[in-house]
Symmetry: D3
Subunit: 312 residues, 6 copies
């Protein structure tokens, strides 16, 4: 049972920063969950910097404690969790990077652990989904994001943080009929943009609607679509209002506050969660208080809580 080092014995600010002060054990064979980083920011279309996202999230996660009162579940202690370090990446070469991340995630899966990833720009999700597909087949994707990431090409090329979900659907990694994406807002290229999700068979609920939904409605909607399929949660930190999570590459004004965002993650309670990531944390654009990284660490904590609930 791998657990965080005790912050009542030695302060939280001691030691090399691992996720939630968990042991750094990239080769652990007895972990339920392996948290890992994907430090790649090459394919972001505006501000780069999310290669440092894993470092920032690890730093902010030192505040996490074992018990989650919102979901009434012991997380650490119930779940054996480790920090598996970061997937290798190749700066400047997205097509070389993707297989390396995929192999890294495949190794986690081969160890029997659930992979929980820290981006990196959103393009990394494709590599995760490829690895998951080999084990679980197509997943039900639940995405919270200010963008749908369903565009086709940027600059004439296929792989990019804005095309990642379309690629995943095209490759058969995601079952759109069981999937959900929510939180979109801000300007688009044209009215057809709002129809892409539906054309591909996926349910998209923009923030202007989602903000009026009760948490129960969201949970029911997702559950109905996902059923008992294996579920992957991809949480783009730009889902949040930019002022609350400024440390990201493509901020869109007018999103949720923190408690609303955490409610969205908790809406996955009871689903068959087989993996998750939080992406697009670019700490260079965060303030010195690193509120964006704090939020990302808490989203991951809710993910671990859901996994702990499922084990109960």
């Amino acid at each position: 049972m791998h657990v965080p080092s005790d912050p009542l014995a030695t302060p939280r600010f001691t030691g090399p920063r691992t996720f939630a002060r968990l042991p750094y054990l990239p080769d652990a064979d007895d972990a339920d969950v392996m948290v890992f980083g994907m430090p790649w920011d090459g394919s972001t279309t505006f501000r780069s910097g999310s290669r440092m996202g894993p470092e920032a999230i690890r730093s902010a996660s030192a505040l996490l404690r074992p018990y989650n009162p919102a979901l009434d579940v012991m997380v650490f202690g119930a779940l054996s969790a480790v920090d598996a370090g970061d997937a290798p990446t190749v700066p400047g070469y997205i097509e070389e990077t993707m297989p390396r991340i995929e192999a890294f995630v495949a190794a986690i899966l081969a160890r029997g652990a659930v992979p929980v990833g820290m981006g990196g720009d959103h393009s990394v999700t494709l590599a995760e989904l490829r690895a998951l597909h080999a084990v679980h087949g197509p997943v039900a994707l639940v995405q919270f994001d200010a963008h749908h990431d369903l565009w086709d090409r940027y600059f004439g090329l296929p792989y990019n943080h804005g095309t990642v979900i379309r690629r995943a659907i095209e490759e058969g990694l995601v079952d759109p009929a069981r999937s959900f994406t929510g939180g979109q807002r801000g300007s688009l290229y044209g009215p057809e943009d709002e129809r892409i999700a539906a054309d591909l068979g996926m349910l998209l609920v923009p923030w202007r609607e989602l903000r009026h939904w009760e948490p129960a409605r969201l949970a029911a909607t997702i559950a109905e679509r996902a059923g008992d399929a294996p579920v992957f949660l991809s949480f783009d930190i730009d889902f949040l209002e930019p002022g609350l999570a400024p440390g990201t590459g493509t901020p869109e004004a007018g999103g949720p506050r923190g408690d609303e965002a955490l409610d969205c993650v908790r809406a996955l309670r009871g689903l068959n969660l087989v993996g998750a990531d939080v992406v697009e944390v670019a700490p260079q654009y965060d303030g010195p208080g690193q509120a964006t990284a704090v939020m990302a660490a808490n989203v991951l904590y809710e993910v671990l809580s859901l996994l702990a609930l499922n084990r109960r």
Copy 2:
């Protein structure tokens, strides 16, 4: 038809920053809208810095795309829009600066375009209103702002970012009976401060009330007052909660979040909008993620969307 350069061909982070990647064409005679800056921060009573507001808003506006799903309208492509550059200003001399801004706006109006301004501290609005008055007569002012800016004198002198709306009413540039101001909060000089607006004939709805209004009520209230008068929107970025828009000079705790603020702009749908500005963006006080400038760029985008709707 002037439109932004294509961000799917060349990334958003390329090229000199103009508003929304529009062409910089100060002399265009075929634009529906000319976006321009008023880099003046001399008359702010607390933190200076908004002279760099136009630069910051231009930088953040690179993320804007042509279609606004919230209002279901194509903006760029429907509207010919350019960046007209900045009005000349004279550091240290407000009374020399005002006529230069007025002349700059008058030139835009003479070209048949709607002037959409980026401040600068709020005193610049007086110059805009003077230029508009010459063409449109008194306007119905719609103001969203943490302050009413109806004070009389600071330090014994008349022109200042806290006296600008009173001056505009006194000069007959604004018809108070058709005007609306909302969002005020924070401390005042005395109970009489809350009555100035009414005494001048203007409707003021402080944030402690406005936050309970539905968007439809706001829209109806404004529409009823403004009628078919020419409308000028002045949006002071300090309308927002300081934590969400810290890059401003006189922050007041306890204001709206981003989606609420954007709803307020959208409440002007259908009105005869003849000009608008966003003022008081002081990027030195923004965090590195420039959330304040992102919000300001989006407010301006909603303004352009309203203009595009009106042309339809």
Copy 3:
């Protein structure tokens, strides 16, 4: 009658920064309220820096004006208020520091003024409560905070910003049966953590519940418990959403926005308020706009407003 210097005569950004531009009069015998700092950050368990909290709050408080429209009360002018400077502290020695702060507060009380403190990490509240106890006996504590601060020991030692309220109850300084704490969220050490408050006889309402309460319910609940007891308000700035108040040591994702937080303070209207503090402002982690300090200054202003109402 001590009042702030006039910002319509000389700008707000002039002069050494005292709270609200009040006179710095540590020895005033004719003040109703003395605002003072407690620059101690030795016992914080994560990020230090709140020793600079008083400096930052003073700087941000320059914007405060005499009249509070939310509570319809003249504050300055009605209330004689001064800045009493900072209590002495001894870096590195908490047990030497506490009596010095206590003596400083005792001197304020001896002058007949209400002490209103600026932290400093939350451990300073113990010193204030000791001084108040000597005059008022046990107080009804009203606490807004992301943490309950009811833990027992850290690193085997008793005094710490996470144990302060327990210590105060143990020492008989706080009457838990008359006290209220709200706003808690984030991870805990175990399910028993949520029961500590009740076990000690104090009412704890976590943010996941409190966010659904109307202000009137909160006011009634606090009033019912406190009755006519002397009340001390301790407001930990980490009560707020981290993105809105990032300048603090132990941020917890998912808290209130600014107007909600100010409403909580206003819920104490009519109570017998004998002292208050705002703690845990660490300006190094605030952004350049110092939104955290702005919020803290406004919380203190609401406290002064409550005191002014009580004098009426």
Copy 4:
């Protein structure tokens, strides 16, 4: 004898920030030196923000101790010094502001104290020199600055931070034949710019030469020119290399390091120093470590040291 509060008794970070923890006594009649601020940044031609310079310098000056080993002189204790607060200014109105600063300095002179000012943009020096002239007649100016500030007009208007020294010479406030300016570098409007100083009768030594001078040569050159005339030192913080003092409005690459800059101030040893200022500190552009303000505080400390030496 006014001296700083004792930092071995109460830490340096306690209390409202005055210069060097000196008492804030704007009306002291028994001070040898009065340190004061001139928070005006209206007439800077690039980045504003120096209105907050006095606040930042006060904050950084808390580290100053009584004895200066470089000049082997007790400063505090030997010299009675106070913080006189800030001169009133009128945002946006340079021509209203100058007389107010002049009157403020005149009042200091009337109290028999040496005025030592903290800017503010460089235009404030004109007001100081006007007040000094009334008492001392024309002064020998010693200026360290990346610019000569001898230009004639900006935007067609006379008063500005780049024209201030020319105006002072024209008004007869400065005797150019006894004056010295050094440190200039960076681009100019034309080759004639380098001859303005000589044309006006002033000695200008650009940094490309000055950096090869020994301190003794500098001291001898200045002393020879100034003779026994009353000397005013104007130290523009942009004299330093921008990387060392980034918190300023018009940085010019390639200047001195800190010890070289302090040596320049010490070169005035033995002269009849009747006033001094440090200008152009814009803390918004400083890093969080406020190295620019630290340097400015130390320059002022050297000024006070020179005054203390003169009294010996």
Copy 5:
């Protein structure tokens, strides 16, 4: 003759930021020099962010004036110069990006202008050198840099900011026998690293030696090697001491100060300069004063000055 807009008529902080306030004319056929950006940061091995380098340098360059006193040459007015905008890049795809930059530079050369580039990470230099080679044949490279950038592979792949000069030599774009690189310092992979330059026929002078050279020796050494060959200057901003130019990706402690760095550029006086770049400016890591960008702008200004001298 294209020149900057007049900052004595309209302040420097007005208008969209182009390099030195030059006109943005990507298609100018009558420019002597075209300054352009290469916003690519995909292949940096540590901190990303230099895709925003051109924006930051443009912003800082607003302070540049027409005359360079250090080299006694009119720059603007003598030289027709424009801002050509930015080369297109493809985030994530270095091998797609390089030809696009190469084509962009080739177009500048086809217009008869000297290309002066703003990076971007150092890998962009390869694209520039390819375009130059087509016109000029192999160039004499003069490089100032904390690293030699002569490594072979990173992560098994050839193109990267640390391999760029080796690739250029291998491709015959650079004549090592005529080339010079200086300023190297910091840790290496092994002692053989220091011999790579010599093995390839290039002269490398590490900073520990170069800092003892007089400017004349440097000029003579470079001139002797370069002779009348076409010269390309590549200036990596990490050449400077990290504290002076922190806004870069791979800082190495212990480098030159600003005036020393500018002297190095001036050492190219009289050479047949056919192109130049300044690379690795990552403004996210710069302080708010943007000292790194200020330095980069000044390096480019010295380049333009050299070109102006050559035209005389």
Copy 6:
């Protein structure tokens, strides 16, 4: 042989940050050197924050490579080195903290490794010296620091970052006759301050003298004093010019540049170095480029290089 992970295989920005990407092995019995943190900032007299120093130094140290060309020595590969994590500390309790750090260092010594520490404020050096004394007896201290840290009491109490060296001498941990301290500058409490070192038998060379010394003179002076005694190097990062290393608590204007500072460390070549630390890195006050931490990491690298030379 413990060495850093290979940055040519996996980028430097991957994985939890340990010093120089070394393995985190707190219990290694086969290391020549153990690098460790002492995250304590309770006893600093001005700005706190150095508890985060070890985290910042680890982050910046990712750039370190195995070979040091300045000293011509392989470091990693020649020396088996690990990151031992951080010593436990007790926030707020210096007298509880010191024995815990001492025990931590004693354990490293017991494993046969040389302890190389990362502060933390300077008070931590006392704990290190106590542990070293138990093994080596009194050491020859070599200190580079803007302050001598030889004061007696602050606030009436003995342990503090300004009294640490005096305490160490009093406890017999340091042999002053063999010790050297250099770099002092800035203001003092009185002329007697400059004599304390001599009175205690230690050689103090202030920066105003040291800056004129050649490296060879410094090396000879230190060597002559230290002889073959065990040597401990304590490097306070405030030794450097504040603009170059702003991330520290008590900056003093006018210190060395980076290459000069590194030369000072190299002056210990050949001595019997038994331990070292770098202290007072407070990253909250560093800029985003973290130049202070970069410098600290390089100072530690020079220390490791000296140890590697000694093993040869």
